[in-house]
Amino acid sequence: MRRRPGIGGLQTAAAARDQYRLLGENVAKLRTDLMKEQLATFRSQLEEFARKHKNDIRKNPAFRSQFHEMCAKVGVDPLASNKGFWAELLGIGDFYYELGVQIVEICLSTRPLNGGLIDLQELCKLLRQKRKHDREAVSEDDCLRAISKLKTLGSGFEVISAGKKKLVRSVPTELKKDHNEILELAQAQGYVTVDEVERRLSWTHGRAIDALDTLLDEGLAMIDDGHSDGKRRYWFPCVSSISSFGADS
């Protein structure tokens, strides 16, 4: 548009800016509409996919895990509600609910032995044993999802990392960083000595004893004074496999 001097020119410029703005908004709206449409198409395709592969999703943990990822990308959470399309179609809500209940049962029954902290792999193993007769296989990914659902229910369940292992905590015990480090250290042999803690973590004697005593009090550690070298060992059931305590020299 040709620029004209004077007030008239200014008014024209303002009108032009308004029009550009409107156009811009329209374009943005078009883009959004287009995206919404694409998303809706994708969602319905996902539903179609889920319908077709219902059995695979139910029976195959790896497939199921990838399905979850796909859903997440599209902003669909099959577990968001126990009602509704997804839950009804796949019965997936029930599956994870059931897993959650079984996980709680296992954690409660092993609590006296491990103080409320259990290795994720160990948990999955016990879960599979419990579900021996069920047709649906269970993966670690499934366990983690079920536990995260439990978490949103505010049941005090949490997955923590200690070194290479993932531990499932089912008691309100707060694990401080010091405790976590000891758990990590303990994974090598299932136990630690005070010396080892001092040496490997560069702690004072007091700090080591403090942390170990707390872990002992919380029921997460057990003492062993039976070794021929006379050194007290602190064992951690949560980093061992409860179902088969190994021998140690």
Partner: protein
């Protein structure tokens, strides 16, 4: 799973800390419970009636993990059994312990069953015959500790199911049933 002869040992038996008396109360309670059950189970299947704390008893040590229960630990577990009425100290020094893997009342019931199964309702037998006679073979009564047997018989005597009397030989008693 580790075995002692035919007996399947529980998993905790292979975990070293269980051979040390735990200081934390809750952990100790769990530990004591596990050991109590193991001792009763083992004694029942092996028909062991008396334990000597200073003797070589297979459950007191696990050579595979190189751990042995201290005397204090042995006494703690057995005392727990005594408190529950499942064991008795034979001496003040707590060196020997009689294990009641069956309570005396259970033994009394066993005797009654034995009597009925063999048609001894009106019979006379010696105490020794009850615990080692042909009819006792294959039953729980076979090889039962004599003291326990007499105690069970006395309970039944009080209920009028039998009468105990001194036999012809100096050290054996007889029983007349009236079941």
């Amino acid at each position: 799973m580790q075995k002692l002869g035919d007996f399947k040992l529980p998993h905790f038996f292979n975990y070293p800390p269980y051979f040390t008396l735990q200081p934390v109360r809750e952990t100790r309670e769990k530990q004591v419970q596990l050991w109590k059950d193991l001792i009763l189970d083992y004694c029942r299947t092996q028909k062991i009636f008396v334990l000597g704390l200073e003797e070589e008893f297979p459950l007191f040590s696990n050579p595979v993990i190189e751990r042995t229960l201290s005397h204090e630990a042995r006494e703690a577990f057995l005392s727990a059994l005594v408190s529950e009425g499942r064991a008795e100290w034979l001496d003040k020094g707590h060196r020997k312990c009689r294990i009641l893997w069956h309570r005396i009342q259970d033994w009394a019931d066993s005797i009654l069953k034995f009597v009925k199964d063999n048609g001894f309702e009106d019979s006379v037998m010696t105490v020794e015959e009850i615990r080692s006679g042909i009819e006792s073979r294959g039953t729980e009564l076979h090889g039962i500790d004599r003291t326990i047997l007499i105690r069970a018989l006395k309970i039944l005597e009080q209920k009028g199911k039998l009468a105990i009397f001194k036999g012809t030989s100096a050290d054996d008693e007889g029983v007349k049933f009236s079941v």
